[in-house]
């Protein structure tokens, strides 16, 4: 099974006027890596989830995500934004954005990996390390090692 995230799925200078543009930028990386087959279709699924309840949580984190038929392998794209992007959290915009892509019929083994990623996100030491990561490879390694 391929790793959840690789260096080309990391964008340490994520830009976008709003959450949709930021999400689209990250989705582009997933598509380029062949993990998402139909970017527009996938983004529609993400937006549908976002519309139910914004995915931002306190501490500057946005987690747009979807289970989608257009996803081939459980994947994560990670973006860091200096300006911050509003994901609807109570305490302001998110500077760490995690786009989680899960295949529609994903087995529970895949889901378990995503679950343990989600659990890591509530730990300050983890998010702090991600904020301090010097480059994309380091960020990807950090995330993968946290899930090992």
């Amino acid at each position: 099974m391929s790793e959840l995230i690789t260096a080309d799925l990391v964008d340490l200078d994520l830009r976008g006027a709003d959450r949709h543009e930021a999400t689209a930028a990250l989705a582009g990386r997933l598509a380029a890596a062949g993990r998402v087959t139909d970017t527009e279709g996938f983004l529609a699924d993400v937006r549908a989830r976002e519309a139910q309840m914004p995915t931002g949580i306190e501490g500057g984190i946005g987690i747009p995500h979807a289970r989608s038929a257009h996803v081939t392998a459980p994947s994560l794209a990670f973006g860091r934004s200096e300006a911050g992007i509003d994901f609807g959290a109570d305490d302001g915009p998110a500077d760490l954005v995690f786009l989680i892509a899960a295949p529609e019929g994903g087995g529970s083994e895949h889901m378990t990996i995503l679950a343990s990623l989600a659990r890591r996100l509530v730990h300050r030491d983890f998010t702090t390390a991600l904020r301090d990561a010097p480059d994309a490879a380091a960020a990807a390694a950090l995330i993968n090692s946290a899930l090992a």
Partner: protein
Amino acid sequence: MKLVAVTSCPTGIAHTYMAAEALEQAAKDAGHEIHVETQGAAGAEALDPADIARADAVIFAADVDVRDKDRFAGKPLVSGPVKRGINHAADMVAEAVAQAEAAPAGPAAAAAPAAPAGPRLGPGGKLRLWLMTGVSYMLPFVAAGGILIALAFVIGGAEIANVVNGGEFQGTTYEAITDPTQILGQAGIAGLMFAIGGLAFSMLVPILAGFIAFGMADRMGIAPGVVGGLIAVNVGAGFLGGLAAGLIAGAIVMALKLIKANQAFAGIMRIVIIPLVGVFAVGFIMLVLIGQPIADAQAWLTDWLAGLSGVNAVLLGVILGAMMGFDLGGPVNKVAYLFGVGALASGDFTVMAAVMAAGMVPPLGLALASVVRPKLFTQAERQSGKAAWLLGAFFITEGAIPFAAADPLRVIPSTMVGGAVAGAVSMAFGASLRAPHGGIWVIPLIGDPGGFIVALLAGTVATGLCAVALKTAWKSKAAQAVDDSALVTI
């Protein structure tokens, strides 16, 4: 405490697990046992029915319907959106603990029908939880400030207050130290401790008000609450003014948060509008609607006391004593204290003795009550009871504030009764005192120290008995329950 929780969210791949992790951490940090069922995409591992049976309370952090809710029927329930479980896990755990303690014990609980939203704290319980939150954040300031001031008296003698702040003590007039950086040089380590203790004390009311508002309206409540508390200090409204400021600030921010702004505007709302409007509204209310009436009332009380000068001495002792015990350093207490200091200047030394005895009684009496009937007090109160012995001994009436702020309706009558008894007995013995502060440290300066000590003991016992009686006779279940949960927020 044993808890079970269920987390779920629309997609079931992110927030479900984040909430589970946050709740597990929060419960562990607060020393509770928790089992969490994640109803997410990775497949829910169902809670062990034995764990559910043993659980004292249930937490739902869920945006979609919890599956098989019937399993939890009859258990105290705290329920909220999944994000609350992530962002405010500690609060949810604290509420669950509070609910568990508020719930009737025994098999009756299991038979109770499950209310759809679960039992919630009534208005009285909520109010007490807010007050306790404020008190729990204030306690370290009381302990640090009060003990520093007491130690300053021990090391520097009772005149240390005048050495630092200026004024006359035992016929010597001191210049106030105007440059705070010179305190160590001019007043020594005792003066430094007195000054630092005083600064810590000056934060009591702002912290109390700020964190009452925090308890009500989360982080956005802090700024309006602290500012309201500062104004309460500035207008001399004391801790009761601080309670009012905190509650007003919390209510205003709660109301402002109800305004639904569209997404683009939401950020500005949180960062600019709510703090701006909240701080101004609280400031306006505290200064204009509360500050002026308090000043008027103080002026009226002062005139009234002056008109009483011919009255029976014991009755004057009762009145001054009750005033000292009423707001513990607040405006009414100040009027009585200044009346005592004024009497000193005109050569009547008995009033000051009565005032000091009555001012020492509230912390001493509550410390006594917390030792005699520890079960009536929260763990935090029992701890502050230990410091209250010392603070009372040094005439630091504020030592009683943590008790009074958490439960004003029961504690203030007790401190008033004890103060009145102490004031009356001291006047009856004709004990006299030429120093305006110092507590037991100035007993050698007292005329008829025996009578003064009898007054002190009588007042202390009266306050202790009253507090125990009131807390026993009129005990709200919710009050007891929220007590220890408020501790969790420290």
